[in-house]
Amino acid sequence: MGEEIIAVTREIIANRLNYLTQEMGLSLAKTAYSVLFAENRDFSCAIFDREGYLLALGSFVPTHQGGMQGSMEYVLDKWGSKGLQDGDIFMHNDALHKGSHCQDITLFKPIFFDETHVATGCCVAHHNDTGGMRPRSYCPDAEEIYQEGIRFPAVKLFKRGELQQDILDIYMTNVRMPDSERGDLYAQLSTLSVAEKAIKELCERYGSAEKIINYFRSIQDHAEGRMREGIKSLKEGDYEAESYVDHDGWEEKSWKIKVTVSVKHKPQPHLIIDYSGSDPQARGFVNSYFYNTRANAWAAVYTVVDPYVHKCYGSMRPVEFNVPMGTIVNAKPPAPIGACTTESGFVAADVVALALGKARPQIATGVWGGSFGGLGIYGENPRHHKNSRIKERWASGFTDAGGVGGGARATKDGIGTVTDICGGPITIPNVEIMEANFPVTYRYRKLVSDGGGPGKFRGSPGYEVAIQPEGPMHFTCLCNKGYHGAEGIFGGKEGSRWKLEIRDAETDSILKELPPKVVLHPISPMEIIHINVPGGGGYGHPFERDPERVKEDVIEGYVSIDMAKKDYGVVINPETLEIDVDTTEKLRHGKGDQ
């Protein structure tokens, strides 16, 4: 007994690898130079097999996973399998060579046991600044990738265990905050040591490199089989969906992303994801390119087909892609791509989830509020007390604009205000923590009334937030769903849209409405930056919503009495808050089910 129960051993090793990626993540969080960087958790750790295929990916940021896969492929393209030596660490952040945007510095360490290359440890982390035209390397006014920061094309940061100081020097010379960048880079390195130690232990425990390599193959194959089984349970057919990227930093217009997902059962179950029909690439930085688009599409496939399958390349093998060159989802170099992850990337995921959802209504959701609303505030620090935590000139990203609404589900409303599905485990900091550390005052942070997309089940609302600076400053902002809300599904309506306004600090009245992308816009202490974060899309026709639920939403303040009538066809007496049954029936009967 024992030897032949290979299925259990495979499961044990697969789970061990998943835990290992979490241990790597812990090591990063605990060694990061800035705790803020660690708290935001904008990083991912993974293990690749020796052939260069993603073997395990823990609970990190889904958007990273394809950038990693592409980057790994480029490391092998460039160096060949013989070019990977024990003690080497490769550094890559070049979108023109299968990588992601500049800020996502990706490190790879091949791991050897008995002189055999067994696996490769990987860590990608979003760095605060990697050079380029604008602070934090988000450059809405860039026209070429060359303006977006310094790029490293799979260079050896370590050669056989030896740090290549020249490379590090070039990096540190080209970024705005070299001290913290260096610290965070070292934190990334620590994850690779954790991976190396654990993989070696695994080889020792199971006897040989060869045996482990065989199990790794079996993990990929098994995950592939399970994924194909999942695809087989979807009805064959072509499913379409489209959505938009709003504003590219230059033009106030939308770029359409269109997808056709074909579910095929023969010769064996597979998916074809085809982005034909998507708009041509943009002038500004919202473009994506193949590897980033594929990464986000993969995440969407997992959500619909099998959220609990082992996440690896094997489980993605049954998915084929057609992403036409020259479009917003696969731009021709040297197009700028700085916002590819949260702009075109998130939308590329949304459309796949929306299309595939039609093949599996019980798991489908309205589109989530999407985008991460990169808000950055820069300026002189007006706080002059002696131990102010921030230096005279400060720049900081606010994850505040990430509080979107979840899309509605088949049997329940969307999950309460959250970060987008592609944002993974990222959370929003407390107001008191932000005010203690940055020279701003929050005026409010509250749910958007009528923010959730109406439906039989309602999308969850995003929140609206108002930030008042203590002195004159500038801010940069990028967000999506300003011209089109998060779409509903099966008759559900869209969630409320992104809004960015300058308001009067005294009266909260609107002084200026701004587009979804803004570069270094001035703001005075008499003004507030007001943001409405998008709500999630609805599920099913709102006239099918149980009137009692509509009433409860009115009582709880999620839906106004006006909207209850207009969107849901439910008439509620403003005095008693009771449902006017007769009028409701008339209203719903007249308009519903068309």
Partner: protein, 707 residues
């Protein structure tokens, strides 16, 4: 005379009587969910019978009743909490609804193993106060404590009136932005609630409970406290009255377990019921700390495997690790709490084949109907069923309250696992146990590494119904060298509750301020104030001055950071001479939590005083060591599976009650007690020590003295 420990679990209520010689007796009685005090009285009556005394005379011999009160935890699980209102700063009504946008069940949104961030059906628990009962008042204080907008009292009175008169709330929680820095407005709102005395008595404000910034976690805690008060207070008073009516002396206290691991008088727990959360798991860790200190072991990992969950605690330098913020049943608590990580794996965890893959947990068959082998109508195959098939457990469990059905265990595993994977029932059972043990040890590793510790440097303390069956394999997987099964493993939480000391913590904000620039007069004055408060409280709890103990801490961080680390102060009154030592300790603690120690100036955020005291000294009874030969305790031989040999082996089964201190068991063995089964693996050694604990030497390298 006895100290009585009572811990109410989901299925059983556990009782431990400790006498002045340290002799321990334990009992179990079914839990009575409708009125848990009934189960408590039933159990004491059972105990009286076994002592051959009547209830009244036994109770009159009790020095203190130490109680792990689960009323609060159960209310969170079932969602049956009192209807309350919440008053917040204008603009921040939704803080508790937004929950910092987290998705996973981790403290700051991280996903714990077993959850998938790709699962679009994920949910968060409903807030304990509905949005319609959250009212905003016009006021604002800034980060320095300066009033930006004064409190609008007229508006506030109207909001209170609306909550009470129109919505009939039973209590009101008050949580305003920046109240820890300037509590003036919060206190005033509380004053205004006094118009309604019945509501006022159930109301609380956030800065009184937690004078620390982070408004979401603070609000969550004060809301929890307020909605539990109307439930916990009457229960505690009712239980106290019943105990007194049945013979407990008037001056004897009912002491309640708190989340930081100390007990407090019932009347104080009734005022702040949030402190009673998590008493069961905490009790176990405190019990381990107590026995560990008697045995001279300072670094312990506690492994408590029950029916549905596996709880892991860590004791370092003799002190249980505490977490500043914890999540219980999905709700955040921002009070120092003994850090027990719960892993969704227990004896009842269901094994099934899903899409060709064997999975164990996280679903559990629970206690009702329980695993198939319980014969209570459960049909799913569980870890416990696999334990039966592999020969580890047989006969009865839980002191004869469960009779194992071997057939049912085989049938369940055959149907749900073996047939689907083309395996024999035995192979399937091996697979289930292997996978479960491997997942659990991976999770324990992660949870200890997360807290900055390497499990191989610890001794494992293993208890709970299913723990001692699996403990030796888990320890082997993790590289732990020594494992201890305490003598009363199945009622160990109750033992811990009984062994707890009275404890209170006090917090004062003194920063953020650079360590070197602290206003020492102010700091020392705050420390003295908090100490005096501790003395007063302990005095009320009948602790003598000479039995009181005080410890002093700073919460510190490097300038520019957001999270603090706790540092114990070397002295009770600080002078500039102490800075170096404080800094040294801070850097040491920091390097444990985060490997990379930055070169920034350190700053202090809060000062904390921990006041504790013991009413009685509890000795742990030590027995004379007899010979090493254990053969007299062998009751039978049966086949049991050991993966070390990849086969079923004839295995000696010992009657644990017959083992004498000093007895040594070598190689694979099963030790059975009426309520616990211990499995010793091939190549390992076990000894019954002078306290009648079973100590297992995982590597088999120990050379114990033989007689």
């Amino acid at each position: 005379m006895y100290i009585l420990g009572v811990d109410i679990g989901g299925t059983f209520t556990d009782f431990v009587f400790i006498d002045e010689n340290g002799e321990v007796k334990n009992f179990k009685a079914p839990t009575t969910p409708k009125d848990p005090s009934q189960g408590v009285m039933d159990g004491i009556r059972t105990a009286a019978k076994s002592f051959d005394r009547d209830l009244n005379s036994l109770l009159s011999d009790v020095l203190s009743v130490n109680h792990g009160c689960t009323v609060a935890t159960n209310a969170l699980i079932t969602g049956k909490v009192a209807k309350i209102g919440l008053i917040t700063t204008k603009g921040f009504r939704d803080t508790i609804i937004i929950q910092r946008c987290r998705k996973g069940s981790g403290v700051s949104g991280e996903f714990v193993p077993g959850e998938s961030l790709y699962d679009l059906q994920m949910d968060r628990p409903r807030p304990l106060v509905p949005r319609s009962l959250i009212e905003e008042v016009t006021e604002r204080i800034n980060y320095e404590g300066r009033v930006l907008i004064p409190l609008n009292e007229g508006e506030c009175k109207e909001k209170i009136r609306k909550l009470v008169e129109e919505n009939q709330v039973e209590g009101i929680a008050v949580s305003l932005i920046w109240s820890p820095i300037n509590p003036e407005h919060e206190r005033r709102v509380l004053e205004l609630i006094k118009t309604y005395p019945d509501v006022y008595k159930n109301s609380s404000c956030s800065s009184d409970l937690i004078p620390q910034i982070r408004e979401y976690e603070r609000t969550s805690t004060v809301v929890m406290n307020t909605c539990l008060k109307p439930l916990v207070k009457p229960y505690l008073m009712h239980l106290k009255n019943r105990l007194k009516a049945e013979g407990l002396s008037e001056e004897v206290q009912l002491l309640i377990m708190q989340l930081h691991g100390g007990v407090t008088d019932a009347s104080m727990a009734a005022e702040n019921p949030v402190v009673t959360i998590g008493s069961g798991p905490t009790g176990g860790v405190i019990g381990a700390q107590f026995i560990g200190s008697q045995m001279g072991i300072e670094s312990l990992i506690t492994l408590d495997m029950g029916g549905t969950s596996f709880d892991v605690g860590v004791i370092v330098d003799g002190e249980p690790l505490t977490a500043p913020i914890s999540v219980v049943e999905g709700y955040h608590i921002m009070l120092p709490m003994v850090d027990v990580k719960s892993i969704g794996a227990g004896g009842g965890s269901v094994a099934r084949v899903y899409k060709g893959t064997l999975e164990v947990g996280p679903q559990s068959a629970g206690a009702e109907p329980g695993p198939a082998c319980y014969g209570k109508g459960g049909v799913e195959s569980t870890i416990t069923d696999a334990d039966v098939v592999l020969g580890y457990i047989r006969g009865t469990l839980a002191t004869n309250q469960i009779v194992l059905d071997i057939e049912a265990a085989h049938k369940a595993i055959k149907e749900h696992v073996a047939d689907k994977l083309n395996m024999t029932v035995e192979e399937a059972a091996v697979g289930i146990v292997d996978l479960a043990n491997s997942n659990i040890s991976d999770a324990i590793r992660l949870s200890t590494i997360e807290r900055g510790y390497d499990p191989t440097e610890f001794t494992a303390f293993v208890y709970g119904g299913a723990g001692p069956v699996h403990g030796a394999v888990l320890c082997r997987n993790m590289g732990i060298k020594k494992m201890i099964v305490p003598r009363f493993a199945s009622t160990f939480s109750a033992f811990g509750v009984a062994a707890s000391i009275l404890k209170h913590t006090y917090i004062a904000i003194i920063g953020p301020e650079l360590l070197t620039e602290l206003n020492l007069d102010m700091v020392n004055q705050k420390l003295t104030e908090m100490t005096n408060e501790g003395i007063d409280t302990l005095r009320k709890e009948h602790v003598k001055s000479e039995d009181m103990q005080f410890r002093f801490y700073f919460e510190m961080r490097f300038e520019g950071q957001l999270n603090e680390i706790t540092v114990e102060l070397p002295v009770t009154k600080i002078t500039t001479n102490d800075f170096n030592l404080i800094l040294e300790r801070f850097r040491k603690e920091y390097s444990l939590a985060y490997a990379y120690v930055p070169d920034f100036p350190p700053e202090v955020v809060t000062a904390r005083v921990e006041a504790s005291g013991r009413l009685f000294n509890i000795p742990l009874k030590s027995y004379h060591l007899s010979g090493s030969d254990a053969s007299h305790a062998i009751k039978e031989k049966r086949k049991a599976y050991f993966d070390e040999r990849k086969d079923f082996l004839y295995t000696n089964v010992y009657n644990g009650l017959k083992l004498m201190p000093g007895n040594i068991i070598e190689d694979h063995a099963i030790i059975e007690y009426p309520d616990t089964v211990i499995v010793v693996r091939p190549g390992q050694k076990a000894i019954c020590d002078q306290f009648k604990n079973i100590v297992i030497d995982i590597m088999g390298e120990e050379t114990w003295e033989r007689k």
